[in-house]
Amino acid sequence: MKLFSHLNFARMIVGLSLVGSCVLGYTGWQWRQKRMEAEAALERDVPLRAQQLQVTSRRLTRELRELNRFDFENGVMQPESFIRSIAAQPQIALGQIDISRRETPAGKGVQDVEYTVQSQIKRAEPRTKIANFMYRIEEQSRGLMRVTGILLKPAQKKLEPEDVPVDNWTYDIKITMRRKEEA
């Protein structure tokens, strides 16, 4: 206390300088930490993270576009419409098809919605068309729909074991969409 009772210019300078030094030391240290953090990040993380941002944004774009086009749950597109749209695609052209729908439980809180696709007139189709149809269903639904049943029978009647069947087949295709049970 004696020190402060005899406060003079030099002591005032010392006191103020000490306070100033503490403040400046702290802020300087903080700037330094920030700078080192930024440098380390620029060297290691930031380029990768910036790239990853671009990748994520593209992924998000794709998903959002798909969601806009293919949102079964929000009713943007109904599954049956989707199946028919695939069946009607130029390289497939399965013609008139019947789709039957059945819901079965697939575990706790999960439900399978099964769509069975058949030609309305039991028309036989080339194997490539049927394969394309099934592939597009899975590919364009981005895995939401799975082909879980395929029954292919040759169109040719009275086929002997030693016969090589003509590549036209009648089909009975089961497509399953698994989803959470609605509360």
Binding site: V14, E63, L64, R65, R142, R146, V147, P161, R178
Partner: protein, 601 residues
Amino acid sequence: MARSCGIRIGPRRYELVVLEGSAKKHRIAAFEAGELPAGGEDPFHEAAAHLKRAVKDHKVPVDSVGVAVDTGLAAFRSVRLPFEDAAKIEEVIKFEVESQLPQFNIDDVVIDFLTTEVSDGESSLLVTAVPKRDLSAALELLQHAGVEPNELELEATAMANASIAAGICSAEDAQLLVHIGDTSTSVVVVDGGRLSSIRAIHLGALSYEPPVEPAAEEGEDGEPAPEVEGPTPEEIQEKIDQLVARLRRELVRSVSGAHTRNPIEAVYVCGLELPGLVGSQVLDVPVYELDVFEEDVAPAPGAAGEVAADEGESGEDGLEDEDDGVAHTAPRPAEGTAPLVVAYGAALRQLGGGVLRPSLRREELRFTGKFERVELPVAMASVLLVTLLGVFNIFEHRRFTFRDRDLYMWIGSAAGFMQGDPKRGIEGNLGEPVDAVDRYLTVVRSQDGDPERTRLESLGELEWRLERELDKAEKALGKSGDIDRPMSALEGLTMVFNWITAHAEEVGRISVHRVDAQYRSGRGSKPDTVEITTDMSFFADSGTEGTYNFERFEGGLRAEPWCSEIQQRGTKTLKDNKGVYVEGMRLILDLNQTPLGEGTE
């Protein structure tokens, strides 16, 4: 308990008093009086060593020491100034008094003042001028003795403080306080309890003695210097008598010349003893011994010049007087307390007592403790430190700004990639803008960025927002991993046909007559499977070779990790023995074992 020490340093003698307690209630913890060594080869260092020993012996509190020096060193002047403010007086006093001190160069003396009267905005001052050289010599001696006194004053003021504190100076009369020093005598006139004037008489109790010279050195021829025969006791007594007579004449002048409002009731004498003075009268004014220690300080046997230097241990056998606030105990001087009055007054002031506040430690002689000595370099170092830290701050801030700009470039580039530049018609790659992301992209693309986050934090925030939106989209699309999708019969069938194509040379030509591929949901620990039932013809040159082909087909599939089981009900030979036909063969596939994973081609 607070302790203080007062030291009187005279040309030949010294006194030391250690007080313990407070200004109002204290006791003498120790005291010592004696002669400073002189006549040796190095009298200065011997005197310093002597004082150092005394300081050590009496455990002098070296941080609270007041020193009184010979009043004979000072010149006194009365000055009247037209203001009362002490700070103002301090500013002008040196210039005001300069013309009145022709014997001194004003820069070579310390000028101090005491206010004797204040009336109508005017101040009457008693100005003291003491050569710095003399004060420095006293300080140097004490510093060599290990003491850095807080204050220097004259014997006169220390005596006045002791007297006023002891209640000797009443408000109804005036007193003449006299301190007989070694070679000078201080005369203080106190009127109505207030200082009126100070005078120094250049006659002291030891003035009759010639100054002691340093030890005579040997002569050129190596012979010791011849001894000089000293004065006889009769001669000494005669000199003392002459000295007392001269001093009495000076005191008569002082009494007669004192301009006091109240009558002078007594002359109080302290310091060294001169016979025939105490108990006499000066112009009908009685002369008493100045005893600020009250009557309980009983004189002890022994000569005044041989004052015992014992430490005073408190309170065991000593007397204590609490009424007057001055409590003191043995040890006490061997004869009389008068020599200790000045040292006591100086010590009392260090405890906060005394009404006079003279200060001779001024200018370059001002008190400088350990810190004071280094405070200027410390201040400069502090300023330098602050400057360096300031530069460091600026430097680091600039470096950070550059790095921050680099970060901004990266983040801005990524944000630009997503948002594009609508003004220039450049479409962003985030084709389906999401409000939460889009808004934040605009923020991070601005130069200022997100005010609540650093650039790095902004990057993290952007990542988080994108991931959140992606997660929401995937959930909306039913792609989140919380539901196991059923196995694809198409995938299972494709794997079998791919296998056949890849191993066409081993299994020969195959014709499929029927295919039924179904997904079977697992139950309990049984995994999900795809079950394929098929009718197939294995064409060959013979039934045997066809059977080989079928067996290679069956064995090959069994070797695949994703083929769990094959069930078959035998083979039929084709017509003309051109191979075999397998009807109702069941293949059970576990697609979780496929190295291809999900997805088919």
